[in-house]
């Protein structure tokens, strides 16, 4: 494993440990340490992706290793955006374990093929990374929605049972959890739509057919339909915060499944 990955994994591991400690203890702990290690790990992560791009002469979006590396990077970016919007510190405790798992897979997965043989035209060279990149970023957004959904469910449960654990007081309000959950679902949906469209177009250009009927295609469209349903139910049928939160958790499972499916294909 390369030195960059050791730095990245150590940094994220410190973030995970700190965020969980911060959620369960009463006093602020290691805030500066966590901030510095996040900054270092994120910088190293970015450097790895850039180096990879320079080495291979293409976007680092091919194979399990690069996809996991990019997805975890996108997840950190999404977290930072969500944090900037809502100042929800607690979200970190739910997001960084996922970042750490994805980064670990990226670190230990075998290196992928150097290039894609079947990409030759310049337009395809652009379309493929747009397709994969957008879809991965949409997944990152769905992961954020999942984190917020979990926070909503935990907090709602404690409010209903009227028994408050140590981290009840650290979680943002139900309204904020709901807003993060819904907003990230909506953003993820837009990214997913664009990503799928780019993919279909790319495939059409490559093979002359837009639809092969492969499991991955069916699954992607199914995911898209599920999210379409979730968003429209929320907007028109006035779904409650709890339902939205549960939906964001279920859809996270679907995304994970779809990721595994893609991992098996590549």
């Amino acid at each position: 494993m390369d030195i960059l990955w050791i730095v990245i994994l150590t940094g994220y591991a410190i973030c995970v440990a700190q965020s969980i400690l911060a959620l369960t203890t009463k006093r602020p702990v290691m805030r500066t340490t966590a901030f510095v290690s996040l900054a270092i790990a994120f910088a190293a992560h970015t450097v790895w992706l850039l180096l990879r791009a320079v080495q291979t002469g293409r976007w680092p979006l091919v194979g399990t290793r690069e996809m996991c590396a990019f997805l975890s990077w996108g997840l950190v970016v999404s977290y930072l955006i969500a944090y900037r919007w809502y100042r929800a510190n607690a979200l970190k405790s739910f997001i960084f374990p996922i970042v750490l798992v994805l980064a670990t897979i990226a670190a230990i997965a075998p290196g992928s093929v150097g290039h894609l043989d079947d990409i030759n035209s310049p337009l395809q060279k652009i379309l493929f990374p747009v397709h994969v990149g957008l879809i991965l970023l949409s997944y990152a957004a769905f992961f954020i929605g999942f984190g917020a959904g979990i926070m909503y469910i935990i907090q709602e449960r404690e409010l209903k049972l009227k028994r408050f654990s140590a981290f009840f007081y650290k979680l943002p309000s139900l309204e904020v959890c709901d807003a993060i959950s819904f907003k990230s679902m909506a953003i993820g949906f837009v990214l997913l739509t664009l990503g799928i469209a780019a993919g279909i177009y790319w495939q059409g250009m490559r093979d002359g057919v837009f639809w092969h009927g492969e499991p991955i295609e069916i699954f992607s469209v199914a995911t898209w339909l599920i999210y379409l349903f979730l968003i429209q139910s929320r907007m028109n049928a006035g779904w409650s915060g709890r339902t939205t939160a549960l939906a964001s958790i279920v859809s996270f499972m679907i995304v994970i499944f779809s990721l595994v499916l893609q991992g098996m294909r590549l």
Partner: protein, 422 residues
């Protein structure tokens, strides 16, 4: 110097006694001057709140005399016989006095442990004494340290984090449900005392709008006016229910005022996030089954009280952590005080050394041959002070170290003998 403290608090004296010993704003300046207007008191300050009176002083002579003087001051100033006071007073000196004032400032000695008012009151008492010119080096260092210890405890422990009154718990819960209270509407049903207090706290926490309903309209209008809200007829409030985000119920109705059907209708037609019900009435005015509805949260008076209780227990636990911090800070401050104590001796040592050097220079001046005035002043102003500093430095370092360990008097005695100060 010695630090002594005489006082009484809610723990040792009933309110009748506390109010007789209190120093109000009009009295405090006279009291401070009277306190230090005595050879046995160097510096003094008075902390006087509704729960306590503390007289702190730095005294030159023995602590017994100092304490006696402070007790006498309290009884003279308020014209109370000493015997009637005696039973209620506590007396502390040295370490205990420092510890006591640290604990008071940190709210560990308060009626509600962790309450935030006392810190401001202690600060005010100190500033008052500064204005009156009755504090000097010792007490100002003590008070600065006390205030910084209090701040440290506030940030490093959770002693004042969670609310410990029914109405503030209601505000906390509202914040856990709705993030931004400013676009929230509060519906206050009935004008019971705690209900009104909860509504007041919510409005002070930034809630957007208050609607009050009560069986007697005048009372509702009175409360509504105070917060620029609206009052509605008791019969009409069911129509308002869907537009409310927080409903506080405190009437003396014998039965449910808000029933399942009302809540269901309100939740169905509002479609904008959860609805928080707070039922402070006994017997309860909101059907408890409402708690099972989705997006509705209901807390009755027992629920709020149990949150209060568990937060109080937690404060007690945190108080132990705070006590440990205080213990360490007291030790630290005592060391600091001891090194302050040698301050005068440090100057004395330097003074004597430079006098010796100067007189030797003058005595041997003739043997040193021709020196122009410039060279002469250079020796006096540059060489001799530099030598004195160099020679005294290790002595002073040793003295300070000895002072921190508490055996400075022995070392000072030795030093006096060595350089023949006496």
């Amino acid at each position: 110097m010695n630090i002594v403290l005489v006082g009484l608090s809610h723990k040792t004296a009933p309110v009748e006694m506390r109010e007789r010993l209190a120093f109000n704003e009009a009295l405090i300046n006279d009291a401070l001057s009277a306190l230090v207007d005595h050879v046995e008191v160097d510096e003094g300050l008075i902390v006087s709140t509704c729960n306590r009176v503390e007289v702190v002083a730095s005294v030159p002579a023995g602590v017994e005399k100092g304490i006696h003087r402070l007790t006498g001051f309290l009884s003279d100033f308020h014209n109370l016989p000493l015997e009637s006071l005696d039973l209620h007073l506590y007396r502390h000196s040295h370490t205990d006095a420092i510890k006591h004032i640290f604990r008071v400032a940190s709210s560990l000695d308060s009626m509600v442990v962790g309450e935030s008012q006392i810190l401001g009151q202690v600060k005010e008492a100190y500033q008052c004494a500064v204005r009156a010119g009755t504090v000097g080096r010792v007490l100002s260092q003590l008070m600065h340290r006390a205030l910084s210890v209090a701040k440290r405890i506030r940030t490093e422990t959770a002693i004042s984090q969670k609310p410990v009154s029914i109405s503030s718990v209601a505000v906390e819960l509202a914040r856990k449900v709705h993030s931004d209270l400013s676009d929230n509407t509060i519906l206050l049903v009935g004008a019971g005392e705690i209900g009104e207090l909860a509504a007041r706290n919510l409005m002070e926490a930034g809630a957007g709008k208050l609607i009050v309903t009560n069986r007697t309209t005048e009372r509702a209008e009175q409360i509504a006016r105070e917060f620029g809200g609206g009052a509605v007829n008791f019969e009409a409030f069911y129509d308002i229910l869907p537009s409310a985000d927080i409903v506080i119920c405190s009437t003396d109705a014998p039965d449910y005022v808000i029933r399942m059907a009302d809540a269901r209708r309100a939740l169905k037609s509002r479609r904008r996030g959860p609805l928080l019900f707070i039922d402070i009435s006994v017997p309860r005015n909101i059907d408890p089954a409402i708690a099972d509805l989705q997006d509705s949260f209901l807390f009755d008076v027992d629920d709020l009280q149990s949150v209060v209780n568990s937060n109080l227990t937690e404060r007690q636990r945190e108080a132990h952590v705070a006590e440990a911090i205080i213990e360490a800070e007291v030790q630290h401050f005592i060391k600091h005080l001891r090194s302050l104590d040698i301050g005068p001796s440090v100057l004395e040592v330097k003074e004597i050394l430079s006098q010796v050097a100067l007189s030797e220079f003058k005595r041997n001046r003739k043997r040193m041959g021709n020196l122009d005035p410039e060279q002469e002043t250079a020796i006096e102003d540059i060489l001799i002070p530099a030598l004195v500093n160099k020679l005294s430095h290790p002595v002073l370092v040793h003295l300070r170290a000895a002072a921190r360990n508490g055996d400075s008097t022995d070392v000072l005695d030795e030093l006096r003998k060595m350089i023949r100060i006496d």
